[in-house]
Point group: C2
Chain length 344, copies 2
């Protein structure tokens, strides 16, 4: 009943309404899918930018600086921080969040931390839906930042139009990133904390790796660092306006250095994506994935909330515990009942 | 056709068969659920021990030492290492794995690393199933060790009969663990690297926190470290043989110190669980969860492999991309078709 006024207020981007809509979506409250469905035709205006990289790469500071730069351009900025909420690293993350709050006072900014805990398997979907809310509410830029380590660093590449990979000179993370293939998913590479020793060395190594990648022989590149540095620098392929060569940028985010260059590179990547149709391709792929996720969620709801799946298991749990039947036999029966029960 | 000889060889624990069965299960190859279903009545002999804790707590070294201790008792030991395969930390993890390989040469040991990458949402299920293979193959102890940071640290408590939480003195992880509630899930606490400064201080803090927990006022405990140390030590409740007070053990795993005490504590916890029926309660809860997971997996298989869910999405993706319809409307239609299609 309150859904229609909520929708109207949301597309006018009333701050309290944005926060309320995000909560409704994040908690899967009644009507959340109807709201998102109604919002769908209005989406696509916001540029979604993912910031990923290892812990200590300065992702939060980079994000904060980007927020300021976008605000200076008169843009509205949403930030979605993905927090794996490890039980062992809450303190450090909290510090990041507090630091970020300094820009949160600006009325053009909305910041939301999303925790994985308790939403196992569902965080990626919820995050995309929260980004939709911000998109629909008229935010111009949406920054999606991963905190901590894990699968989320790769997931973010499936949420964003443009993915920024942040690295720092002193760690071995750059070389790890090369080896692991995460570099393949990055549209822009940033060597942050570039005032530290080794920044230029890392930039050269990344540039070489990217040239080799464009030369289609990335797979055969020796992974050893020394070889990388001393090896011959191969010529890049002829520039092709259809392909995007990720630039390697140097930033010192804590002092605001290199941020203008990063903003420019983000604009160039956007222009390239719109000109070549790449944006359409990426968004189409994301919508396919999204629809799949919504189907999976609806099926789980059917089994565990609308049907008697849980009761069917309970009734036979004694037999399973006793070894008389197996979880696989019970599961097969539950699925058969669900398929058959759909007949009525 | 080869399934029956595989089963016979498996329960004789022929090493090559164990490795083959684990691969079949891990990759979900044809017949994997039939094999697990057949194995189900034979399960329950192995003790499943989860080792969790923050990075740097020495979990791999602890695991390796436990493996050696169990081997010295003439036991067969399986190790399942859960590796979140962060693209940014491959190197350090690899080092751990290589170190572990030193005990892998013993014929009484089987070690398997399981990577999350590409199995998002399915790792927990696969891990439990690999543990079943090892249980069915006659391994006496199964150590499940988390590597890295994230949700997995909590998941392990749902895979094991007994959960060991490893902490180290110098980090703030101990206090974080107290605050986050992960301590609630641990059956044994280990302060590893106990030769370092602060080990005894951490032990005292953990002991106090556990006493307070038993006193049911854990929720009101001041989280500040200083307060913890200087606050009054409350008396624990009267000992109750029905309740288990997690011991706080000191180990220096790299030198093998404290391992005997840890093995003894594991035995005591096992004896307590069997005497009180707690083991039955835990295993029953795990079997319920397992059956749910198998149902979810079967439903996904039905939607995406046995039915035309993917084709239904493809047919309407143009409309979704154009904003004519939303992913939610398409998903609802797919679910309706599946429910209806079950009628034929």
């Amino acid at each position: 009943m309150t859904e229609v006024p909520l929708f109207a207020d949301l597309i006018e981007a009333k701050p309290a309404t944005v926060a309320r809509a995000v909560s409704i979506v994040e908690n899967g409250r009644p009507g959340f899918e109807a709201l998102l469905s109604k919002l769908h035709p209005r989406l696509g205006r916001a540029r979604r930018i993912g910031i990923t990289g290892p812990p200590g790469a300065g992702k939060s500071t980079l994000t904060e600086r980007l927020v300021r730069a976008f605000l200076d351009q008169g843009l509205k900025v949403g930030v979605v921080a993905l927090d794996p909420t490890s039980p062992f690293s809450g303190g450090a993350l909290l510090g990041d969040r507090i630091r970020m709050e300094s820009v949160a006072l600006d009325p053009g900014v909305y910041i939301r931390s999303m925790a994985t805990r308790g939403s196992l398997g569902g965080l990626a979907t919820s995050t995309r839906e929260v980004c939709d809310i911000l998109d629909g509410a008229g935010f111009d830029r949406i920054l999606i930042e991963t905190v901590g380590v894990g699968q989320l660093e790769l997931d973010v590449t499936h949420m964003a139009d443009t993915t920024v990979l942040a690295l720092v000179p002193e760690s071995g993370d750059g070389i790890q990133a090369l080896k692991s293939g995460v570099i393949e998913a990055a549209d822009l590479l940033v060597v942050n904390k570039a005032d530290r020793p080794g920044a230029d060395k890392l930039r050269v190594a990344l540039d070489l790796a990217l040239d080799l990648r464009l030369g289609k022989i990335f797979g055969q590149m020796p992974a050893h660092h020394g070889t990388l540095r001393s090896g011959p620098r191969l010529a890049a392929e002829e520039p092709d306006e259809r392909s995007w060569r990720p630039p390697v940028l140097l930033t010192t985010a804590v002092q605001g250095e290199g941020i203008t260059g990063l903003v420019d590179a983000l604009d160039r990547h956007w222009a390239w994506m719109t000109a070549t149709g790449e944006l359409e391709v990426r968004r189409r792929a994301r919508l396919r994935l999204r629809t799949r996720e919504i189907v999976d969620r609806a099926m789980r709801r059917w089994v565990w909330q609308e049907s008697n799946g849980e009761a069917l298991i309970s009734a036979r749990l004694d037999d399973v515990t006793a070894g008389v039947t197996s979880p696989y036999e019970v599961a097969a029966d539950v699925v058969a009942v669900l398929k058959g029960g759909a007949r009525q």
